[in-house]
Each structure stands twice: as structure tokens, then as C-alpha cells.
């Protein structure tokens, strides 16, 4: 702010730059401190919930730590879950910059992964090499994902349909489409237990990052997150998108192509979720089946809100929530609690986090100097 510079006009230039930097860190720390406070509050509320049910919160949180971050194996498990979460969170965060609340990442993930598995079938039967199969799968998965969420953006812009409801409805439709084909025409006859498509074959599976025990989806997710941060914060497109998110009428008055921006942002978002589906198929499942709809799309919503829709912040938050999900199994076995325990904790975190929105601007510490409200 200009007024802070004026106040410090007497100090030397280096001092001003330093004071400015401190000031900026102090003010932006609000966006870290308040979500952290919200997480702690959610943890306390959840402890009360556990105590009321006769479980020990200390055991719970120590198991959470051990199952998510305590050992090398749990770290691997955590990172494998964080990879799709980064991408599905981006599916929420990018449209959110334009003021759109998209919650249909699950559908784009499922349909992207499913179409990648389907396009692989003729290629695998023709025994095409993996350097041909994988890029085609990748393009199809991201393309289908982009089309799916892009359609939500188009419905929103051209027909005025609420994007939140439309995207969730389209998730259910996507899952129904996959079930329809997987249970019917495209069902692998060699797999009687669980209806699935034909496997893409071991030769076409993406391996792990050497020395990490985690598939390539994680570095890919991080690269995409960084690239989208640059796109949203350092390009004209990102600026136009943020203007639209701030005030649609102002954006229209400026002659910004609001419709194009919305559809493009939604398509980018869908491509991210489709990419997550690609990695789920090509790195983990090896085929498309009901396991694709594992709820990554829904946890991704929470990741994006916790990260305040910032693509870079999504990476650590996704690892954090991936850890909580990874610990679910251990908690279930050791404490005899249902598998939905993690879901309750996540839901509680989400609610408390949104309540904490009301705290922004309430603390004098984070306000610019001289602002005496």
C-alpha cells in the first residue's frame, strides 16, 4: 500500500524494502494462520466427538500420524493418494478463481480414466508399443475430462444453469455411463469377480519414480499445479479470469470475453481431473472399474478450499489430506472404528474451515499499518 511507504519515507531505501517485505509477510500470514487455527479447532471438536464415544483422541491422532507420515511405507501410501488429490483439487480451484463452484471432479476423473482404459483396448490387441499407447491414453483422458467439465461451463454461460448442481449431476451421469459399459458391452469376461474393462497390460503400466515408490502422477500433479499457478497469477488470461471472478459486470464492461474465459477455465479444470483418472488407470488399477469412483473428487473439494484455491498451496494440503486418508485403514483396524471415521473428520474440518472465513479482517495484527478500524 502506498501509505505505508509514505510513513517510512525518512528511513533509507533498503530499510523501506525490508519493512515492506515484513509487512507483506505479516499481512499474508493471515491466510496461513486462520486455516491452521481452523484445523486445530476441528481437531479439538473431533477429540470431543471421540471422547463422547469412548475412544481415546491421543490414540487416534498418534495412529493418524503413524499411518500417514510415520514410516516410509505410510509416506508412500500418503503420496500415492495425494497425487490424484492435487489434480482433483485443481479442478475446483481454477474455476473458483472465476467465481464458479465446480464439485464434479469425481465425474471427470471417472470418465477420463474410463475412456483412457477403453481407448487402450484396440491398441493393446494390436500390440502397439507403450510409447504409443500411453500418450494416446493421456490425450483421451484429459480431452474427455476437459469436455465434461467444459460442458458445465458452457451450460453455465449459455443457459445460466447453476454450475454446482450441474457438475454434481454430471458426476452421477459419468459414473452411470462407466457402470453401463463395464457391466455390459465392455466387460472383461476373464474377470468374473469384479466387473472391469480389459486390463491395459503390464507393459503399458506407468512405473514408479525411481527411489520414491510413488508413481509419476505425483510429480506430474506438482508440475501442473505450478504451471497453473503461473497461468492464473502471471498471465493475461489469469488476470482476466480473476477480474471475472471479482466482478462479472466489471469484466463485461471491460470487454473481457467472460463466456470464453469460463469455458476455458472449466475445460482446464476438467483436464486436470481427467489426468488424475489417467494416472489411476495407468499407474494403479490397470483397468477401469468401480474403484475409480473412490471419492478423490470430493476430497479434492476440501483440499482446494483449505488451500484457499491457490494452486501451489494445494500440493502440501493434498499431501496432508492424503495422509489422513492413508491412515484410515490403520485406525479402522486398531481402534475398531468404521471406515467413515476419516470422512467425519474431513467433513468437520470442512465445516470449521468455512466458519473460519468469518474471521478474516477481524484481527488488527494482520491489517495494514495505519488501518484503525
Amino acid at each position: 500500500m502506498a501509505d505505508t511507504v509514505n510513513q517510512d519515507a525518512a528511513t533509507p531505501a533498503v530499510g523501506v524494502a525490508f519493512a515492506d517485505a515484513v509487512e507483506r509477510i505479516r499481512r499474508s500470514s493471515e491466510y496461513v494462520v486462520i486455516p491452521l487455527l481452523a484445523l486445530i479447532a476441528a481437531g479439538l471438536l473431533f477429540s470431543i466427538f471421540l471422547l463422547a464415544l469412548g475412544h481415546s483422541p491421543i490414540t487416534f491422532f498418534s495412529l493418524l500420524w503413524r499411518g500417514g507420515f510415520g514410516t516410509e511405507f505410510s509416506w508412500q501410501n500418503t503420496l500415492v493418494r495425494a497425487a490424484p488429490l492435487i489434480l482433483t483439487a485443481l479442478c475446483v480451484a481454477i474455476p473458483a478463481r472465476l467465481g464458479l463452484t465446480i464439485i464434479g471432479g469425481e465425474g471427470a476423473l471417472v470418465l477420463g480414466g474410463f475412456s483412457a482404459a477403453v481407448i487402450a483396448i484396440p491398441l493393446v490387441t494390436a500390440s502397439a508399443p507403450n510409447y504409443i499407447v500411453l500418450p494416446i491414453m493421456l490425450v483421451v483422458a484429459t480431452g474427455v475430462g476437459a469436455f465434461w467439465i467444459g460442458l458445465v461451463g458452457m451450460l453455465r454461460h449459455y443457459r445460466g444453469i447453476n454450475e454446482t448442481i450441474a457438475s454434481l449431476l454430471m458426476s452421477y451421469i459419468a459414473i452411470a455411463i462407466m457402470n453401463f459399459f463395464v457391466e455390459g458391452a465392455l466387460r472383461d469376461p476373464g474377470n468374473p469377480n469384479k466387473p472391469s474393462t480389459l486390463p491395459i497390460g503390464d507393459a503399458n503400466m506407468i512405473g514408479n519414480v525411481p527411489g520414491l515408490g510413488v508413481h509419476w502422477g505425483l510429480p506430474a500433479g506438482i508440475v501442473v499445479a505450478v504451471a497453473l499457478w503461473v497461468l492464473m497469477n502471471r498471465t493475461t488470461f489469469g488476470f482476466a479470469a480473476r477480474v471475472t471472478g471479482g466482478n462479472v459486470r466489471a469484466a463485461r464492461a471491460q470487454g473481457l470475453p467472460v463466456g470464453k474465459l469460463m469455458v476455458t477455465a472449466c475445460a482446464i479444470a476438467g483436464a486436470c481431473a481427467g489426468l488424475a483418472g489417467f494416472f489411476e488407470v495407468a499407474a494403479i488399477q490397470g483397468k477401469a472399474n468401480a474403484s475409480l469412483a473412490a471419492g478423490y473428487g470430493f476430497t479434492g473439494i476440501l483440499v482446494a478450499f483449505l488451500a484457499r484455491q491457490n494452486p501451489i498451496a494445494i500440493v502440501p494440503v493434498a499431501i496432508f489430506l492424503g495422509g489422513i486418508a492413508a491412515a484410515g485403514g490403520l485406525i479402522q483396524r486398531r481402534m475398531g472404528m468404521p471406515d467413515a471415521t476419516v470422512q467425519v473428520l474431513q467433513g468437520l474440518m470442512f465445516v470449521v474451515l468455512l466458519v473460519s472465513e468469518t474471521l478474516y479482517g477481524r484481527f488488527a495484527f494482520f491489517r495494514p499499518r495505519g488501518d484503525k478500524r
Binding site: T164, I165, L169, M170, F180, A340, G347, F350, L354, Y360
Partner: protein
Amino acid sequence: MNETDIGAYGVPLAMLAGAIRVSTPFLFVSLGECLTEKSGRINLGLEGTLVFGAMSGYAISYLTGSPWLGVLAAGISGCFFGAIHGYICKLPKVNDIAIGIAMMLFGTGLAFFFGKPFIQPQAPHLPSISLGFWSDLPQVQSALSINPLFLVGIVLAVFMWWAFKNTRWGLIIRMTGDSAPAALAMGYSVDWVRFLATTVGGFFAGVGGAFLSLYYPGAWSEGLSSGQGLMAVALVIFARWNPLACFGAALLFGAAGALGPALQSVGITQGYYFFNAAPYLLTLFIMIASVSPKRSLKGAPGELSITK
């Protein structure tokens, strides 16, 4: 049961029966949502409320042996969720749509958490009233065995339609929904009216959930509701915030939901999963056909964030 063969007529009949059976939860959730939206706030969390209501209704019915106590418990738990939503939305800078999403995930999570022990046991069901005694066809008889909650829903829809028009409370709710400043000027607390509307709306959604677990499909499972609470939100927009139209729309949605099972009952099993998607597709197409970006919707509450 000895089925008399009535051929292709079975499909429309089964759809009618299905419409009556499947529409009840839609009806209750949409009436609850209609009330909340009329007061100028949107509660997307009714999906979570519906699932939790289904669980608590089933659990209480199992534990006490009385399905009607289950319905009451479901309604009260719905009230509770509505009250949380209503209270949080009173705080400044909180987005009602985001809170709705969070409550949806939280409610479903809680329902799955507490519902684990109730997946296996069989709870007493709600009774039904047979109105098909005049017919010899078993299909007609089964189509017209109607749950009392369906009739309660019809009465409620008519009552709400009348009350919005003719009572003081109806006027206050409509005024809060159309213009918060006007309500403030008249000396009513906007937050308080909306809080009450959301809480009562939650009660209706909870009762709708109890119907799911206690009558049709009639058992508690984790896949009991898939988006019915959310479709009901879209249904309210389609019904233009008119409780009577909500009833018609709920019947239509019920018929769409019954399409898959109806075709299956006459032996068409191909594409069962595809017909399962019919209600979602119908919702989407209805929204495409009935919403326009060019004009604001007739009857839409002016304060509603979703139509702005």
C-alpha cells in the same frame, strides 16, 4: 404373488407405482428446500440431511420397534443439520453454497459412521394403505398401496402453497427472500427468519430420508441416496418455488427414477445402469429447458444467490 400377465401395460403401470413410491423423498426434500429458498437462502446440504435422516430413522425404528418414532427422529436430526447450516450462514462472509457442500459431506460421513451397525438388521417398516382394492390385478393393487407419508406430503404441499399466500408468516418469509432491506425496515430479523426456515426445511428433508430407509427401498445402506437431495434442489428451481408445482415435479422425477426397475419388471434388463441415470439426465435437461440467462426466473426469491 401370482402375477397376471398384462404385457406392455406393465411398464406405465409400474412407472405410476414407482412415481408414487419414489417421489415421496423428492417431495419432502423439495418442500424443505422450497421453504429455505423462499427465505432467500440455499441449502445444498439437504443431501447429507437426507442420508442422515435415513440412517437415524432406521436406527430408531430398529431400536424402539416403532417406525413412526423413527420418522420423528429423522425429522429432529434433520432439524439439527438445518440449524447448524442456518447458524453458520448467519456469520458474515460465509458462503451458503460452500457450507452446503461441506454439510453434505459431513452429514453423509456421520451417517456412514453411525450407520455401520444398522446395515444388517431388519427394522420394522412403515405401514401402507391399500387404495387398489377395487381392482383384481395384483399389479394395480401393489401400485396403489400408498404410504401415509405420501399423503402427508401432499397435504403439506397444499398447506405451504396456501400459507405462503395467505398467512402472516408466509408473507414474512417471502419478504425476507425477496428483499432483506425491506424485512429489516419492517423490523424483522432476516437472520432469524432464515435460520428458522432452514431448520424447518431440514426437518422435512430428514423425514424424506426416513421414507427411503423405512419404506422404499426399505433398508439402510450406504448407497441409499445418490444425489436425490441435490436433485430436489434442481427440482425446486424447475417448480419455480411453488409448493404445488414441487409436487408435480416430484412425481415426474419419481417416474423417471422408476423407469429402470419398470423396464426390468417386464424383462428388459439391457441398459439397467443406463436407465439408472435417467433422473440425473432428466434434471439436467429440465434445467437446460427451463432456465435462461437472459431473464430472471419468474417467482425466484430476489435474495437467492443461485439465481443472481
